[in-house]
Amino acid sequence: MARYHLITIAIAVLLSPAVSAQSADPMVTVEMRQQGFKDMGAAFKGVRDQFRRSRPVMVMIREYSRPLLRYSREPVIENWFPQGTGPGEGIETEALPVIWERPDEFAARWEDYILAAENLQSAVVSGDLEATRERVREMGDTCSGCHDTFREEED
């Protein structure tokens, strides 16, 4: 048994530099969250664009909205916005320091997003196009509302 313990410890020791190196480099986290938000932006554009058609296709809206729901179920605040990943030396990010200065407010905005994603999901499942339209509007306002405060302004 002891041997197995040793092997386990050895593997853990071997792996630990990789794990700690990842968490030590804030840019890895920054790039991860940027990619996540790009996915969400792309998903939202897909949903929004259906309403540019003369007849929006509900199945397409459902498919495009999947990442929006998926990300709403992830511990995004903990994983994407740990301390030390704000703007600073060697860190290129448009996330504003106010995220870490007012964490409760930021967390509340993310709760808004979770709610918006769930509401959108229910509307999509119901198949009611007008209700979905309203929920898409709400989600758009949720995104831009948070970005207004916590993200660097787009020029």
Binding site: M40, A42, F44, K45, G46, R48, R52, R137, R151, E154
Partner: protein, 227 residues
């Protein structure tokens, strides 16, 4: 008395060219203001009208009056350079009717950049995927973001060339004593009596151009379907 020193007030710029010029200025300022203040629906409307004015200007550059035609004012690098070398002397003399070679370069660059800017805007998508140009429907989120990035860069280029344009006009005024602004409003200028005759396009030609621009504006706004 037919020397180059006898001047007479003559029409140089026709009404469509002048209207186009000042409309572009208004739309440029308006686009900036609406973008800064988050009035994106108005920003898009201004972009569509801008596209219309630009298409009219291109049409007018081929089928319009003499001084508006690209053929009349586009010069090669050699003659532009030659003009630039003599600028100090030439700026004090009455300019030939229409654009001088430097003015031609300036307006061509501005026209080109404005065209690029409108095209980029039609494809651009904002960071949320919410506000977007009407043609962004045909491109991916990434491509739309790329267009938005260049929409911003080209705007900065435009600011630079607009500044150059304004400074040049000011210099002609202060150093050369020529008020090009009044000339672009009234369309008239003192020209040597011996200057070559200018041809001005009849009304129906501009009506055709406006119709062409109108169709484009109508088409673009028809693609802009609100959520």
């Amino acid at each position: 008395m037919t020397g180059a020193h006898v001047f007479q007030r003559r029409k140089v710029w026709d009404l469509p060219t002048r209207c186009g010029h000042w409309l572009l200025l208004l739309l440029f300022c308006g686009s900036r203001w609406t973008a800064e203040n988050g009035e994106m629906q108005w920003h898009r409307y201004m972009g569509y009208v801008m596209a219309g004015v630009l298409v009219f200007r291109l049409y007018w550059g081929v089928f319009g009056s003499t001084t508006a035609r690209f053929k009349h004012f586009l010069r090669g690098p050699a003659s532009t350079l030659a003009y630039t070398r003599e600028l100090r002397r030439r700026a004090r003399q009455p300019a030939p009717a229409g654009h001088n070679p430097l003015g031609a370069l300036s307006s061509t660059v501005l026209l080109f950049l404005l065209l690029a800017q409108v095209c980029l805007g039609l494809l651009a998508v904002d960071v949320d995927g919410m506000e977007a140009g009407p043609l962004s429907f045909y491109v991916s989120f990434e491509a739309g973001r790329f267009a938005a990035l260049w929409h911003e860069r080209v705007f900065n280029l435009l600011l630079f060339f607009v500044a150059v344009h304004i400074i040049a006009v000011m210099l002609y005024w202060l150093l050369g004593g020529q008020n090009l602004i009044v000339r672009m409003i009234s369309g008239r200028d003192d020209q040597p009596g011996s200057a070559t005759e200018l041809w001005f396009a009849p009304l129906w030609r501009s009506v055709l151009g406006v119709a062409l621009a109108g169709i484009l504006v109508w088409y673009l706004q028809s693609l802009d379907i609100p959520l």
